[in-house]
Symmetry: C2
Subunit: 166 residues, 2 copies
């Protein structure tokens, strides 16, 4: 193994080996504008209350909306959504991030109709650490795909998928 001493370089090098599912966080800002942002820092927190967390850079367009406590949805992308992920990761802005994919509306929140799963959340707690905001959301509704379990993954700086032979 190689030892990295500079913490930031080290974190990035090590995290290339932690594969993560790719999600798109959606919300609606105070002016009614839909927002979407790709995120891989998403995990479940607790069964009771049913909750998950997302980490959002304080420079992100979605930061203001989430820090103000607006509701949000976590859309777990499917393996075919790599191009949509790129759009929501920064190659488009504002409403342009909804140019690909089939987006629906549920209780006023945009969601991706062919996502692996969609978690609808109410902000429960927030914590700022360094460059990022950690938002814990209580989950009040979930849509789950009926087809194969085939999420889009990100590892080693590129998009991946599950090995179908496992």
């Amino acid at each position: 193994m190689t030892l990295f001493d500079n913490p930031s370089t080290a974190l990035r090098a090590g995290m290339r080996r932690l594969a993560a599912s790719v999600c798109v966080i959606t919300a609606v800002d105070s002016s009614g504008q839909r927002q979407a942002m790709t995120a891989t820092a998403v995990t479940s927190v607790s069964d009771d209350p049913a909750s998950l967390l997302v980490c959002v850079n304080r420079q992100a367009g979605l930061y203001d909306t989430l820090s103000q406590g607006h509701r949000f949805a976590v859309n777990v992308l499917s393996a075919q959504h790599a191009e949509l992920s790129q759009l929501c990761a920064g190659s488009a802005t504002g409403e342009g991030r909804f140019a690909l994919g089939s987006w629906g509306d549920s209780s006023g929140l945009p969601y991706l109709r062919d996502a692996q799963a969609v978690f609808f959340c109410q902000t429960a707690r927030q914590l700022t650490h360094g460059t990022h905001l950690v938002v814990i959301g209580d989950v009040d509704k979930v849509l789950v795909a009926d087809g194969a379990v085939d999420p889009l993954l990100y590892a080693d700086g590129r998009y991946r998928s599950l090995n179908p032979e496992d």
Copy 2:
């Protein structure tokens, strides 16, 4: 898609489709006993300070040690570590969790020599939400494997790996 209304059932059903890398968290308790616990709720938080977070059930053996602020290591498992993961997920207890794998010691913390990466952390912040403790750790040292990027994944209730054809 199927709509789930019971939040806990819904969260579990949706999370089966969010593939995650499998990690083993290690620490040493106040009496000097080594501890290990399998966890998939691990994400990076911030580049500056370099930090990550782990979510730990308050019923877990590791809970007391982490809540007391002891240092910990996050070992990102490799695809061949499924059996070791099972051991550290509850099929063994205490020192028995170190019965498989090649464990080293770095500054007093156990680490897995053939992990994909090992992050050594000092607890920075903690937050309790429902059944779980969220621990944010500042990363001061990282070991990164030199070989192929091939983490052990967990999705749909079983162990998986990355598709080598991507």
